[in-house]
């Protein structure tokens, strides 16, 4: 019976429910001091002077570090960083290296003291004077001087620029509207925190809340000029990430503080700092135009995004899904990016697709209504089985099944095409739907497996579980690959000293590490079989490797299963306490291993023929269905039902997978109804700064969410067949809700979030 796919409980669940799962801020060290940062109060300018006299008089203060006395980190140098694997930073701003202020809230100093209370109180006494310059704080003003970026993550950013206009003008039916989305913040429940520990001035250990231990270690090594193997990053548990944990340079700040204090130092960001210093999803203004022929077939799609960034090349790629979904002979996707003096925008759960599907899928709904076609039917009519840009077949694609199954489960057929037809007491009831999509990536990865002579198995890889279920599903894969029960398998991850794995981002962890786990287990089995077949005392003696099967902790002769021998007997007779195997798998396309520091020398498996982007396009798909109740008197919207049907390849654990999709949908409900960070246009600072004013969904905002998986393994991504599921759940959700609101009220809101004022 296969363990993979079963809805087993999380193997780390017991630790988490009993408070014994240890997150980065909880690795208290002997003689540890506390750091508290000081942040800039201007948007742009220079620090004219810093007066720390009052700070130093405060009890318990050990040191005050600013640009005047900070450790000199290696300067930014993109070529050198690329070579070292440290190119990918949250913000291109190593801390405290100059007196220039780029945004309000930037870390400009750090106070180290004996206790947290002392550090915090003292930090507020630092006197800073600035030479203020006029900052770029208003998006609409700055867009006038915005630039058209050439590239995005190695791809052409501007696609068919200017080519859609003529075709749009000649289309029989046209919709052309502007949709806008606000700044959103990740706000994982665990604030970023780091404990830094130096030994001998060239050995650094960081307990860090990160989505990628390897990446964080490489970045720290680069900027401190250390050997990569001398920086160890440890994060056995990470309290959520959603894109904001991994690449931020407060980690360097703590290490600088620990160096200055000559002691281990802890720095935990406050919730307010998380609104400023660890990224956000940039606001977008998107103009989407669609044209169809008389039969409702799309002839042209145009998607333009205006957005901004600062201290990064990244910008919100809201046009991504408009290059993947639907059959249309012509599509134009373009971007304008301004620069604001605002904390750096970054990846946030489904970067691009989250705001992008709001715009595109709202426009699809508007077109369907214009054509008087059911929105599901309209999408089916325009379905594509090929990547519309590259022409490759999708590796595995069941989107039409998602629409059909979703519509059935949801009861879509009772929807009225015309709005305002359904009431429940004082509430207007509406149904809406949208397509979900997210690319499926896979990177190189290494996994080591160790079997003890008592049969216990340990799997080791420098991956991360940010709540996704990495621990659990790895144990399930190894259980099947070795024929050992899950209870006998321990998974060790979250340590850069382990065999390297990609960061937990881009929905790629499962797709990347499981092929390596499978291969490592296969190698281990082969080694065990080699021991047994060569041993005259073994029942398997003299057999060929291909004649040997495995199950229930044993190897056996496939033709004669009674000729069997347990792993433990094989190991004991060979007088081996343990046996290990390590494998690196490298897809033919996809990111390679840039992170050094593997414990074992991974046996390189020749690149497998999977995940070949020259043969196939790799994407996941889904359909989102929402029911809303709208109170017309108050403009309040409640999502009362939600159905999400997902085509994401093989499901590794039905329980944890379901939770991830539910979580994605809830993230989408937040984006649809409440999440927005507002900024003061005069000073550029965020006026929404805490969880009291940055509203995320609470228990009462969330209906029961019905999730269904197509569950068909993707035969082309890997021998495992799983694509990622961390991000697709949020895509399309805000559009489905906005479309449901239109169906309920007849009002089309094109500006997120759908707050009551927009319906009154």
């Amino acid at each position: 019976m296969s363990e993979t796919g079963k809805p087993i409980n999380r193997i780390d669940g017991r630790l988490k429910v009993s408070g014994k799962a240890t997150y980065s801020a909880e690795f208290n060290q002997p003689n540890m001091a506390y750091a508290f940062p000081v942040r800039a109060t201007i948007a742009k300018g220079k620090i004219a002077s810093i007066d720390d006299a009052a700070v130093k008089k405060e009890p318990g203060v050990l040191s005050v570090i600013s640009h005047k006395n900070a450790f000199r980190l290696k300067p930014l140098d993109i070529q050198a960083q690329m070579k070292a694997g440290a190119a990918f930073l949250g913000e291109n701003l190593p801390p405290l290296q100059s007196n220039i202020v780029h945004y309000p809230g930037q870390f400009i100093a750090v106070v180290v003291a004996e206790s947290y209370e002392q550090a915090r109180a003292a930090a507020y006494k630092l006197k800073v004077r600035y030479t203020v310059e006029k900052g770029a704080t208003d998006l609409k003003t700055e867009l006038l001087k915005s630039k058209k970026p050439k590239m995005f993550m190695g791809e052409e950013a501007q696609v068919n620029e200017g080519k859609a206009a003529a075709s749009l003008a000649s289309s029989t039916n046209r919709v052309d509207h502007t949709y806008s989305t606000p700044v959103e913040h990740h706000h994982p429940m665990e604030p970023h925190a780091t404990v830094a520990l130096w030994e001998n001035s060239d050995q650094l250990t960081l307990y860090d809340a990160t989505q990628g231990v390897g990446l964080t270690g490489t970045i720290a090594a680069y900027f401190f000029g250390l050997k990569p193997e001398n920086v160890r990053v440890i994060a056995p548990f990470v309290g959520g990430g959603f894109g904001c944990k991994g690449l931020w340079l407060h980690t360097l700040l703590v290490a600088m503080a620990a160096k200055a204090a000559g002691r281990p130092v802890k720095l935990a960001l406050t919730r307010q700092m998380m609104q400023t210093n660890v990224g956000h999803r940039a606001a977008t203004i998107q103009r989407v135009a669609l044209g169809t022929d008389a039969n409702g077939k799309l002839s042209v799609m145009r998607h333009h995004t205006d957005s901004y960034n600062n201290l990064t090349e990244f910008f919100e790629p809201s046009g991504k899904q408009s290059l993947v979904l639907y059959e249309a002979p012509l599509r134009e996707v373009t971007y304008n990016v301004a620069k604001l003096n605002r904390g750096t925008p970054t990846f946030m759960r489904a970067p691009g697709e989250t705001p992008g599907t709001f715009a595109l899928e709202s426009a699809m709904d508007e077109m369907a209504y214009k054509l008087k076609i059911d929105p599901v039917e309209f999408r089916i009519k325009n379905h594509t089985t090929k990547d519309p840009m590259k022409g490759h077949e999708f590796s595995s694609e069941f989107l039409l099944d998602c629409y059909r199954i979703g519509a059935e489960r949801f009861g879509w057929s009772s929807r009225n095409l015309e709005p305002r037809q359904k009431r429940n007491g004082k509430y207007l009831v509406g149904y809406g739907m949208a397509t979900a999509t997210y690319p499926a990536g896979r990177s190189a990865s290494s996994v080591k497996v160790v079997m003890k002579s008592n049969g216990d198995v340990t799997l080791l890889t420098a991956s991360i579980d940010i709540g996704t279920g990495t621990y659990t599903v790895l144990a399930q894969t190894a259980s099947d690959a070795l024929g050992v029960p899950v209870e006998r398998i321990e998974v060790k991850i979250g340590d850069s000293a382990l065999p390297p794995s990609p960061l937990a981002g881009g929905s790629q962890t499962t797709a990347s590490i499981h092929p390596a786990a499978l291969e490592a287990c296969k190698l281990l089995r082969a080694q065990l079989a080699a021991l047994a077949t060569a041993d005259p005392a073994s029942k398997l003696n003299g057999r060929k490797p291909e004649d040997i099967g495995y199950a229930d902790g044993k190897l056996f002769v496939t033709a004669d299963p009674n000729k069997a021998e347990s792993y433990t007997d094989i190991l004991k007779r060979a007088k081996r306490n343990e046996m290990e195997a390590c494998a690196t798998t490298q897809p033919i396309s996809g990111a390679g291993l840039t992170i050094p520091g593997a414990l074992c020398t991974p046996r390189e498996i020749p690149a497998d023929q999977n995940s070949d982007i020259k043969q196939h396009a790799f994407h996941s798909f889904g359909a989102q269905f929402a029911e809303v109740w709208v109170d017309e008197d108050f403009g309040t919207i409640r999502v009362t039902r939600f159905t999400s049907v997902q085509d994401v390849g093989r499901i590794m654990n039905e329980k944890t997978a379901r939770s991830q999709i539910i979580g994605g949908v809830i993230f989408g409900i937040g984006a649809a109804l409440m999440e927005a960070t507002e900024y003061d246009k005069r000073w550029g600072n965020a006026v929404v700064r805490t969880l009291a004013d940055y509203h995320v969904p609470v228990h009462l905002d969330v209906p029961p969410i019905d999730v269904h998986f197509i569950g068909k393994p993707d035969p082309h991504i890997s021998p495992i067949g799983a694509r990622g599921i961390g991000e697709i759940g949020i895509t399309g959700v805000s559009a489905a809700i906005a479309n449901a609101v239109f169906n309920a009220t007849g009002k089309r809101v094109r500006d997120l979030p759908l707050t009551p004022d927009k319906l009154l």
């Binding site: 409980n9 999380r10 780390d12 669940g13 017991r14 630790l15 988490k16 429910v17 009993s18 408070g19 014994k20 799962a21 240890t22 997150y23 801020a25 909880e26 208290n28 206790s115 947290y116 209370e117 002392q118 109180a121 990740h186 706000h187 994982p188 429940m189 665990e190 604030p191 548990f237 990470v238 309290g239 959520g240 959603f242 935990a268 406050t270 919730r271 940010i466 709540g467 996704t468 279920g469 329980k655 944890t656 379901r658 939770s659 991830q660 539910i662 979580g663 994605g664 809830i666 805490t690 969880l691 009291a692 995320v696 969904p697 609470v698 228990h699 009462l700 969330v702 029961p704 969410i705």
Partner: protein, 195 residues
């Protein structure tokens, strides 16, 4: 408990004076503040006695220390989580004298003589509390960071009898945020235990 040197009335009257003095020139105000500092020296440390998970503690704490920072930073009880430090997320929920309380909004100095239960004190030995077990079975968490607070709050919710309907459970659990979105599983866990 330490003998109180100053009465509530004294504080009220000095505060009233301070309010009046807000309208008086800066020099006079500084003089007043100096005098006040002399008369009422700032207390930086305080001795407290309390019980946490049935163990007795005699501690000297910084007067600014919250119950949350006390357990996490000084007593190595890191199961209670800091999510916002402002009473907005519920991750720090503990029980004080059997009531659910936000430990980040509770100064350690105010739990003098009280009985505190944290997530570490919820289970009996190696056997999990039924709520903890239910959270595992219903997958009432993902990253696990809000989980101790959710569980302490869920136990409180059941003890308070706010489990008559899903809506009621949600209402009385809405102070506990979960960004991973495990709300469906949490409500199921509570229903399971409340039965």
């Amino acid at each position: 408990m330490e003998k109180q040197k100053y009465s509530r009335r004294f504080f009220l009257s000095t505060s009233a004076m301070a309010a009046t003095l807000a309208f008086i020139p800066v020099g006079v105000k500084a003089f007043y503040n100096n005098v006040k500092k002399l008369v009422i020296p700032l207390k930086e440390k305080m001795a407290i006695k309390l019980s946490i998970n049935k163990a007795k503690y005699n501690l000297t704490v910084d007067t600014r220390t919250t119950l949350l920072d006390l357990v996490r930073e000084q007593l190595d009880l890191t199961g209670t989580k800091k999510g916002c430090d402002h009473g907005q997320c519920g991750a720090c929920t503990v029980h004080v004298n059997g009531q659910r309380v936000l430990s980040c909004l509770t100064l350690a100095a105010t739990v003098q003589g009280k009985e505190v239960t944290t997530i570490e004190g919820l289970s009996q030995g190696s056997e999990l509390h039924p709520m903890q077990q239910a959270f595992i079975e219903c997958d009432g968490f993902q990253c696990g960071y809000c989980t101790p607070g959710q569980i302490m709050s869920a136990v409180g919710c059941v003890n308070e009898g706010h489990t008559h309907s899903v809506e009621e459970i949600k209402e009385f659990m809405s102070g506990n945020l979960c960004r991973c979105g495990a709300y469906n599983g949490i409500v199921q866990s509570i229903q399971k235990v409340a039965k």
